[in-house]
């Protein structure tokens, strides 16, 4: 019974495509000279152009185009010699002109891919397109809910309006929430390493939507829904999981999945329908007559390519060669630019392989559990290196070091201090000998069997020693002492 259920579940294959909106790291806005700012007094960085005043005209930001090309090259896209700006028409207060200037049927880049490292090996996710546009302003809804519905009044902050925005759309190549998260992480790492965006999600510099459907057991594609408002990659993973459950359940009960926009609420870990998309909006796209098409000179694109910084993939290969890491570990470490930098700082101090083991293993587990970014961790690279060094010098056992890392992670204290305070230092020979003697005398039957040549119970006695020393003894050393004492 259990088996058939698993079988059924497996037949509803997730089909996921991601859509990213990324603020480009330019000094000024996409079509005017106003500075790009975050968190400043509302409506202090505006002008007739980004306020949509009559007669004002857009002028495309050259640097934004350059950054778009850089991103396209880093994502293995084809960079087109010509791109056309288009108007996407709709009414909304955060859209001062009544249209958004974007790129539609002739985007700047198409047809790329990202190779994503997953626990089950590398997965290639296609990039459908990459185009440039302007961000909308920010609606601020007064009242408790913070949403338009039920608010007591609405205000608009046009500071964000016109911020250069890059939209990146993937192919629906992703077949699990885990791979979706890994893809998002990898994309972020690439964009950060190239320097096209800081990708600070708290500032809204990187936003992710997902198109999700399940393929039915007969292989036909299901109706897709759009999942919005996932402002962290953990929520991408969790939101997708919830939405896939919802769709699968509907289909298992022979119900229909409606075309809709869904919203993931991290507080309740649930998805809700935001609006039905049964009546699709007609954006009446047409070429933007106020702007000339972007003409990209081939030599310029080549020149940009030649000065692209190290990409995560290149860094991964370098880590394999330089530090002797497995491709998987190197992939995990380079998927996040900050993690990679963290690793390199630790690896400069201690054995690189040991450093990788600690960081990809115990440290990542702690970070994930606490939902903390490596850059915010109390375990600084110096402290991490300190822990690894204490193990390799034999001051603390591996088992004790795990405890030590947890304590440093919690407190931020220096590893040496924690070792001192908690008595985590590895026991010296005499002390260990004493514990072994006590364990032998408390377990006379087992000791006798070892003396009689039965090695199977040695493990049990070692375990008793470790228990007695609260892990501060080295397991191998305890075994040696035990065997030595019992051979006489």
């Amino acid at each position: 019974m259990e088996n058939t259920k698993t079988q059924e579940k497996r037949d509803y294959r997730p089909v996921i495509g991601l859509e990213f909106h990324v603020h480009l790291a330019t000094r000024t806005k996409m079509f005017c000279g106003c500075r790009v700012t975050y968190g400043e007094e509302p409506n202090t960085h505006t002008c007739p152009v980004c306020l949509g005043h009559p007669g004002a005209l857009p002028v495309a930001n050259e640097r934004a185009i350059e950054l778009g090309v850089m991103a396209g090259l880093a994502l293995n896209c084809e960079v087109h010699p010509r791109a056309v700006y288009a108007r996407k028409n709709y009414f909304y207060p955060d859209l001062p002109k009544g249209y958004q200037i974007t790129q539609y049927d002739e985007p700047i880049c198409t047809g790329g891919y990202i190779d994503v490292q997953t626990s089950e090996g590398p997965v290639r996710v296609g990039i459908t397109r990459l185009h440039l546009e302007e961000d909308a302003a920010k609606n601020v809804h007064a009242g408790e809910s913070g949403r338009m519905h039920g608010s007591t009044g609405s205000y608009i902050d046009y500071n964000r309006g016109g911020t250069p925005l890059m939209e990146i759309v993937t192919e629906p190549d992703i077949d699990s929430p885990e791979v979706a998260r890994a893809t998002a992480n990898q994309l972020k790492a690439i964009l950060q390493s190239v320097g096209v965006s800081e990708c600070d999600m708290e500032k809204g510099q990187l936003r992710c939507d997902a198109n999700v459907s399940v393929r039915e057991p007969d292989g036909s594609f299901g109706t897709k829904t759009e999942l919005k408002n996932m402002n962290s990659f953990r929520f991408v993973e969790r939101g997708l999981a919830r939405e896939l459950e919802r769709q699968t359940e509907l289909l298992e009960n022979a119900e229909r999945v409606g075309q809709s926009t869904m919203h993931y609420d991290p507080a309740t870990d649930e998805v809700h329908e935001l609006r039905s998309k049964e009546f699709a909006h007609d954006y009446r796209y047409f070429p933007e007559p106020d702007l000339l098409p972007v003409e990209l000179n081939e030599a310029w694109v080549r020149e940009i390519k030649s000065r692209l910084p190290e990409l995560p993939e290149e860094m991964r290969d370098r880590f394999v060669g330089q530090y002797g890491l497995s491709s998987y570990d190197a992939g995990v470490l380079t998927a996040d630019r900050e993690l990679a930098a963290y690793y390199e700082a630790v690896a400069a101090e201690v054995d690189p392989k040991q450093a990788a083991n600690w960081i990809t293993g115990d440290l990542q587990a702690l970070l994930n559990e606490a939902g903390v970014e490596v850059s915010e961790s109390r375990v600084t690279p110096e402290k991490m290196a300190g822990i690894v060094r204490l193990v390799s010098e034999g001051t603390v056992s591996r088992a004790a070091a795990k405890d030590l890392l947890g304590r440093v992670f919690e407190s931020g204290d220096s590893p040496a201090e924690v070792v001192e305070r908690e008595g985590l230092a590895q026991m010296g020979g005499d002390e260990l000998g004493g514990v072994v003697d006590r364990v032998v005398s408390e377990n006379p039957d087992e000791a006798e069997r070892v003396r009689g040549g039965d090695k199977k119970v040695v493990g049990f006695l070692v375990g008793q020693v470790m228990k007695a020393t609260r892990g501060s003894a080295d397991g191998g050393r305890a075994r040696e002492v035990l065997l030595e004492k019992l051979s006489r």
Partner: protein, 485 residues
């Protein structure tokens, strides 16, 4: 206005002022007096700015003593109310911008000079949409030649102001003929420059791919001088051309000897062209030939599709360009329950019928399912028309057609028939679609009313076009005289 000043062209007045014969202030006062005298009958202005004009005239007189003044700066001017003027309300002839004061000046005005003597903002069809100036929220403009007749549109206020002597010249805007047709109907000169020649920054958009600011003047030399004042590349307008601005007065009087002039068959023999207008056009061809031009016939085979293509493309752009007038940030706002109700009520009340008609036409032709059949098809026609012009300019330097199919018609006679109104643009839209420069020059009278003759040149050949127009103006012997007398 003293008859003596009223009889001068802008160029002559500027020379007089620079020579010390009269002050800029005296000229400005003369213009303001004339406005006071005839404005009740004409209604050419939506907003009059006598204080600004007199203050700037004083500055010009001050600068006269130091030299370094551009000739054009001496002459008071009127500005169509679709050009953004900082701190001076700019209505676009619409209720929706009734109290709107722009934050900045249009680049063309900045180019003209900081001390421009602006006597006022002129009436026009709402958002420049119309051919009779009857689509204005500020009342119709009356043709100075016949107060019951229309002045043409959409720059009807500018045309009437110049024709009535309420100043010497004015700026208009031309999208499908809005400078040239009212110039023709009011017996003055109207020039639509090459698309990209004059910055559109601050020109409140009607149809972005067609709009150009142009001079409306008493004669061709004035048009050359005013173009000189406003032309030039503007980094704030991506569609403005980075092409050097030549001296438009140099060679202006060189005549048309050897110049190849092609009379466009389809637009001259078209059945919609009234006999008087056709006769004036043919007479102009004969006069140019007599002045030494090589005159022949030329075909623009796709020009008959120009009108339908124009009335697809322009409204499409309108439907998007006018979306910003939503009552959120500026302009008229009708408070209502929710934001969408507010949009609806604001636009319902703020826009007039013709603007609404074009927004609907444009919204329709850009809609999915119709885009290919309408907008995309119209763009193909536009390409064909551009090719027609290219072929014609391989054989001719300038092309000759009527400007408008008729002389001024009576106010109220065509308002119920939009298609007949749109037909006013038949001769003027091809040059707009192709982006080439075109000028309307008075070609005599028909039934006692002025007829305009249009000359069109190739891209950025304004010097040749102006030279031909200057020769034609001399040959016709038509002399400017302010009306009503």
């Amino acid at each position: 206005m003293p008859a003596e000043l009223q009889g001068l062209t802008a160029y002559e007045l500027a020379e007089r002022i620079r020579g010390g014969g009269v002050s800029a202030r005296e000229a400005t006062e003369a213009a303001l007096d004339r406005i006071e005298e005839v404005e009740d009958d004409i209604n050419a202005f939506v907003t009059r700015t006598p204080e600004i004009a007199l203050e700037k005239a004083g500055r010009i007189d001050g600068r006269l003593r130091n030299g370094g003044l551009n000739l054009w700066e001496c002459v008071p001017m009127a500005v169509k109310d679709v050009l953004s003027t900082r701190g001076v309300r700019t209505t676009c002839g619409s209720r929706i911008l009734e109290d709107f004061e722009p934050l900045y000046d249009a680049s063309a005005l900045v180019n003209f000079g900081e001390d421009r003597i602006m006597v006022g903002k002129t009436n026009c069809d709402e958002f420049a949409m119309g051919s009779s100036n009857e689509n204005s929220a500020y009342g119709p403009v009356h043709n100075p030649w016949d107060l019951d007749g229309v002045p043409g549109g959409s720059s009807g206020g500018s045309a009437a102001a110049v024709a009535a002597g309420e100043g010497w010249w004015a700026l208009g805007t031309d999208t499908g003929g809005s400078v040239r047709q009212p110039a023709a109907l009011c017996g003055i000169v109207g020039l639509k420059p090459t698309y990209g020649r004059v910055s559109r920054y601050g020109l409140i958009a009607f149809a972005s791919s067609l709009d150009q600011i142009g001079p409306m003047t008493r004669d061709v030399r004035d048009a050359a001088l005013l173009l000189q004042a406003i032309a030039g590349h503007d980094p704030r307008d991506s569609t403005s051309a980075n092409v050097e601005v030549p001296d438009y007065l140099a060679g202006l009087e060189d005549g048309v000897s050897g110049l190849r002039v092609g009379v466009v068959t389809e637009l001259t023999q078209n059945e919609g062209i009234s006999p008087g207008v056709r006769e004036a056009t043919e007479k102009a061809a004969r006069e140019l030939a007599a002045a030494g031009a090589e005159v022949g016939e030329v075909s623009l085979p796709h020009s008959e599709y120009g009108l339908p293509a124009y009335y697809i493309i322009a409204p499409a752009e309108v439907s998007s360009n006018l979306a910003r007038f939503d009552g959120v940030r500026y302009g008229h706002r009708v408070p209502a329950g929710g934001v969408h109700e507010m949009y609806r009520a604001t636009r319902e009340e703020g826009f007039g019928d013709e603007v609404k008609r074009r927004i609907m036409l444009g919204t329709y032709s850009l809609s999915s399912g119709y885009y290919e059949a309408y907008y995309a098809q119209a763009q193909k026609v536009r390409t064909k028309i551009i090719e027609d012009f290219r072929a014609a300019y391989a054989r001719y330097d300038v092309l000759l057609t009527p400007t408008a199919p008729t002389v001024a018609f009576g106010i109220g006679t065509k308002v119920d028939d939009p298609l007949e109104m749109y037909a006013q643009d038949i001769c003027s839209v091809p040059a707009s679609l192709a982006g080439v420069p075109a000028i309307s020059v008075p070609g005599g009278l028909s039934d006692g009313l002025p007829v305009g003759v249009q000359l069109m040149g190739d891209h950025f050949t304004e010097p040749t076009l102006l030279r031909a127009a200057r020769a034609l103006e001399k040959a016709t012997g038509f002399h400017f005289e302010a009306r009503p007398r």
